[in-house]
């Protein structure tokens, strides 16, 4: 039986009080709840404070480039669909630098779980606005306030019929763990946008700010109702719903490849007879 201790405890490079701490703990709990051993899991991280998270637990890890966690995760999943693949990074990395990959992963419905630490600000580069910063949010780099309207990842994902779309908040541990357990178990692309404060650079969206607003969805809510999900995805401000907002059962991307019906690409033998036949066609 896997135990949370199997995932280890490490010193981190994060600020005291960072929202990453409860998030890391929730991820470990979810992995244990799913009964996954560390070697069965592959984390793929981008760059940023959030992307450091998988360094602080025991699992396979590919820590790649800023913005590019999703394509690396996609390639790894296609090479070996037996891996439980979790891409993890921040809002700037996934929605900004990696925006094109985010959209394409939804279209593919590749069976990876995308965990986005959303603190609405850039931490590692010290406090610039992020794609999810609210309009008017003042930073050192945006002294007049953010001019753009914020990116709404949930609305985009639901509009594109993403396989699984959820929002978590690090201050509500049990609902967050529950959402993560479901996301990892979902066959298809799963987005979990996780709200978290940045104690160093975001003085607006603080623990008390979120605590007053984040409300778990009632058990009566039906996440398969697309129109209801679209409406819910627009809700932001006084009340912010957390939980599984939308899900469907589209077949995952890797199911479409005949090569993968025979098992993972890794370890497959080269069929010399078949190759010789192919060469014949060039005669």
């Amino acid at each position: 039986m896997v135990d949370i201790k199997d995932y280890g405890e490490y010193k981190t490079a994060w600020c005291p009080g960072c929202g990453n701490f409860p998030l890391l703990k929730a991820v470990k709990k979810a992995l244990v709840k799913r009964g996954l051993e560390p070697h069965q899991v592959l984390f793929v991280a981008g760059i940023g404070q959030a992307a450091k998270a998988p360094h602080y637990l025991n699992a396979n890890l590919f820590n790649g480039l800023h913005g590019r966690s999703v394509p690396v995760a996609t390639g790894a999943k296609l090479a070996n669909p037996n891996l439980v693949v979790i891409a993890e990074s921040g809002d700037g990395c996934v929605y900004g630098e990696g925006g094109n990959h985010f959209l394409s992963a939804i279209r593919r419905n590749i069976d990876i779980t995308l965990l986005v630490h959303n603190n609405q600000v850039y931490g590692l580069t010290k406090g610039q606005a992020s794609p999810t910063s609210d309009q008017g949010f003042i930073t050192k780099a945006q002294p007049e306030g953010v001019l753009q309207s914020p990116f709404n990842p949930l609305a985009i994902a639901i509009a594109m019929h993403a396989g699984f779309v959820a929002r978590g908040y690090v201050g509500l541990e049990d609902p967050l763990v529950d959402v993560l357990v479901q996301a990892i178990g979902h066959r298809g692309f799963s987005l979990v946008d996780i709200l978290q404060p940045c104690v160093s650079f975001n003085r607006v969206n603080t623990y008390p700010w979120y605590q007053d607003r984040c409300k778990p969805l009632p058990s009566s809510y039906d996440p398969t109702d697309w129109e209801a999900a679209i409406r819910l995805s627009q809700q932001w401000g006084d009340e912010i719903p957390v939980g599984v907002i939308y899900r469907n059962e589209r077949p995952p991307f890797e199911d479409h490849f005949s090569a993968l019906r025979k098992g993972p690409l890794v370890g497959q033998e080269l069929d010399h007879g078949q190759l010789a036949k192919i060469i014949e066609t060039y005669m």
């Binding site: 051993e37 560390p38 070697h39 069965q40 592959l42 793929v44 760059i47 450091k52 360094h55 025991n58 699992a59 396979n60 890890l61 590919f62 820590n63 790649g64 480039l65 590019r68 999703v70 394509p71 690396v72 995760a73 996609t74 390639g75 790894a76 999943k77 296609l78 090479a79 070996n80 037996n82 891996l83 094109n100 990959h101 959209l103 394409s104 490849f257 005949s258 090569a259 993968l260 025979k262 993972p264 690409l265 890794v266 370890g267 497959q268 080269l270 069929d271 010399h272 078949q274 190759l275 010789a276 036949k277 192919i278 060469i279 060039y282 005669m283």
Partner: protein, 577 residues
């Protein structure tokens, strides 16, 4: 029948001196606009040559458009190995009248023009076909090829079989009919022309383009995954793999952009699937950050760059050798690599295999540099014995590693034990940050130089496996021609012609352009009276590379950057200047 009689050609061609039997060559140019099927009929014509036992070399030129414009498909055929293309034309097959005007000046003394009789051309070598009587317009291209094939004596049965293999039996009927009509029509004419000698070589040879050879080389090396974003001229590599994906159990994915393509390939390779990304200069520019990622994570990946005219969009469907400096230096930070530049179809196959082997062995990015010309150039080649070729098996033997498993264990040769994630209890941790031996990020400045040195030590291994350049000719030559990549055939044939004029000429071809080992070739440069580097770029990138690596200054360069491939004639013309 009546009209066939009436259209009987008056031209009586004096018999040509034996072209092919003397080991000389015949050049056929098919010209027309995009959408006229000249590539289809050109390919089947070239294949008919190969099946009849001849060597071929195809040069294609086309504009960046789907319909219209002016495209050419030149087949140079010979009874001995054809090394390069030819600018002069023995038979001009004009699928539109513009082709006659554009190319008639390139006709050889006995050259012929074949086209639609309705154009009523006045050229003395004009052969106008009554195409309307032959059949429907969409088959006219086959008719023109049929007449040309008949003229030079290719067996109609060979052409018909090639038609069947190209279109499939059900779509061949109409093509067969018009082929037969054109062969018959030709017999009715009083045309005489040099016939090819009968079957000078065993017919069972292969014909493929440079990029098909790259794709097949990759397949034979064990490729399992390819991600790409369409871009000329390298889409053809991905397309060839797509054609065989079901048979060979491959995953080929069209990515959202080149950045995604290479990151996917790196992810797939990390998880154990030998991976490749084909692209061109502009696409490669987008991939460069990930080249550096493959280097520091020590993940095998093969990158094929089909060069075309730059900068930026440049001439999208024209050839150039302008990315040498870019590819040799691409990627931030310092790390070892190998760059191959095949000059023949055989090299396209074998050097792609070599790139896969090195990528796996030295765990990093390896490169194959082709170009638009080579990508599309059909050539004949010997059948290879596939069963004797080894293929890549990424290491999944977890019992072979010391525990605790350290992905980046510091070793003497710099090569660390690569395991695959999920296949054992060992955790495989890789990182784009500088990292510790266990793969986790570090800012330990004492460890940093050790890790840099570890990675660079792999460069010593790569260097020890460098393919020496191929030197041919007199060791103390009056003239030494240097080539790399696709210009190989042009310099070698130019040398043949110069030697026929009693000149002491040598050639040296580099099919690996990085790293280069001065001991392999400097003596040749120093022993020759005059050294000329022939390359398809404006600034002499390879000449510069030689100077930087050896101190040897190449006195003269022959450059071409008008979008067309370097030909033997081009070299000979520039030698006279």
């Amino acid at each position: 029948m009546k009209s066939q009689q009436s259209s009987k050609q008056k031209i009586r061609r004096e018999k040509k001196t034996a072209l092919l039997t003397e080991g000389r060559f015949l050049n056929i140019l098919i010209g027309g606009e995009a959408g006229q099927g000249l590539q289809t009929v050109g390919t089947l014509f070239a294949k008919s040559f190969v099946r009849s036992g001849f060597s071929v070399h195809v040069t294609q030129t086309y504009e960046s458009r789907v319909r219209g414009g002016h495209n050419t498909f030149s087949i140079r055929a010979g009874s001995e190995k054809v090394l390069a293309g030819q600018e002069t034309i023995d038979i001009l097959i004009a699928l539109n009248e513009e082709t006659v005007d554009l190319h008639r000046k390139k006709l050889t003394k006995h050259g012929l023009i074949i086209g639609d009789g309705e154009w009523k051309r006045k050229e003395k070598n004009w052969i106008g076909l009554p195409l309307k009587e032959f059949g429907e317009k969409i088959y006219w291209n086959t008719a023109c090829v049929g007449v040309a094939a008949g003229l030079i004596g290719l067996d109609e049965k060979v052409v018909a079989k090639t038609i069947e293999d190209t279109f499939g039996k059900e779509h061949s009927e109409e093509n067969w009919k018009i082929l037969n009509v054109s062969y018959h029509w030709l017999k009715e004419q009083a045309l005489e022309w040099e016939k090819l000698p009968a079957n000078p070589k065993p017919a069972k040879r292969l014909m493929m383009t440079g990029h098909e050879a790259v794709a097949l080389g990759a397949l034979s090396a064990g490729l399992k995954f390819c991600a790409y974003y369409p871009m000329s001229p390298s889409t053809s590599i991905a397309q060839t793999l797509i054609d065989w994906a079901k048979d060979m159990d491959l995953v080929i994915e069209q990515a959202e952009d080149e950045i995604a393509a290479i990151n996917m390939a790196i992810g797939a390779s990390y998880a154990g699937a030998p991976s490749m990304v084909p692209t061109s200069g502009g696409g490669f520019a987008l991939m460069v950050e990930a080249v550096s990622l493959a280097a520091i994570t020590e993940t095998p990946v093969v990158i094929v760059i089909g060069q075309r005219s730059g900068p930026a969009t440049g001439l999208a469907t024209r050839t150039e050798q302008g990315e040498l400096g870019f590819v040799v230096h691409a990627g931030h930070g310092e790390f070892p690599r190998a760059v191959f530049a095949p000059g023949t179809i055989e090299e396209c196959f074998h050097l792609t295999r070599k790139a896969f082997e090195l990528a796996e062995k030295y765990q990093g990015p390896m490169f194959v540099l082709t170009d638009h010309f080579l990508a599309d150039s059909y050539r004949d080649m010997e059948r290879m014995d596939i069963s004797k070729l080894s293929f890549i098996r990424p290491n999944d033997n977890s019992s072979s590693v010391k525990t605790p498993y350290l992905r980046y264990r510091i070793t003497k040769n710099g090569i660390s034990p690569r395991l695959l994630p999920g296949l054992s209890e060992h955790l495989v941790v890789v990182d784009s940050h500088e990292h510790m031996e266990n793969g986790h990020m570090t800012e330990n400045l004492f460890l940093r130089p050790k890790m840099v040195d570890k990675r660079l030590r792999k460069g010593d291994g790569i260097r020890s496996e460098v393919i020496p350049p191929d030197f041919q000719g007199d060791k103390k030559a009056d003239l030494l021609l240097i080539s790399w990549g696709s210009t190989r055939g042009a310099i070698e044939e130019a040398a043949v012609q110069l030697r026929a004029g009693k000149k002491k000429v040598a050639t040296i071809h580099f099919s690996q352009v990085w790293p280069v080992v001065p001991d392999h070739f400097v003596k040749h440069l120093e022993q020759s009276k005059k050294v000329i580097c022939v390359e398809g770029n404006a600034t002499g990138q390879f000449a510069q590379l030689i100077r930087r690596e050896t101190g040897f200054v190449v006195q003269k360069r022959i450059s071409r950057y008008d979008g067309l491939p370097i030909t033997p004639e081009y070299i000979l013309r520039h030698l006279q200047m």
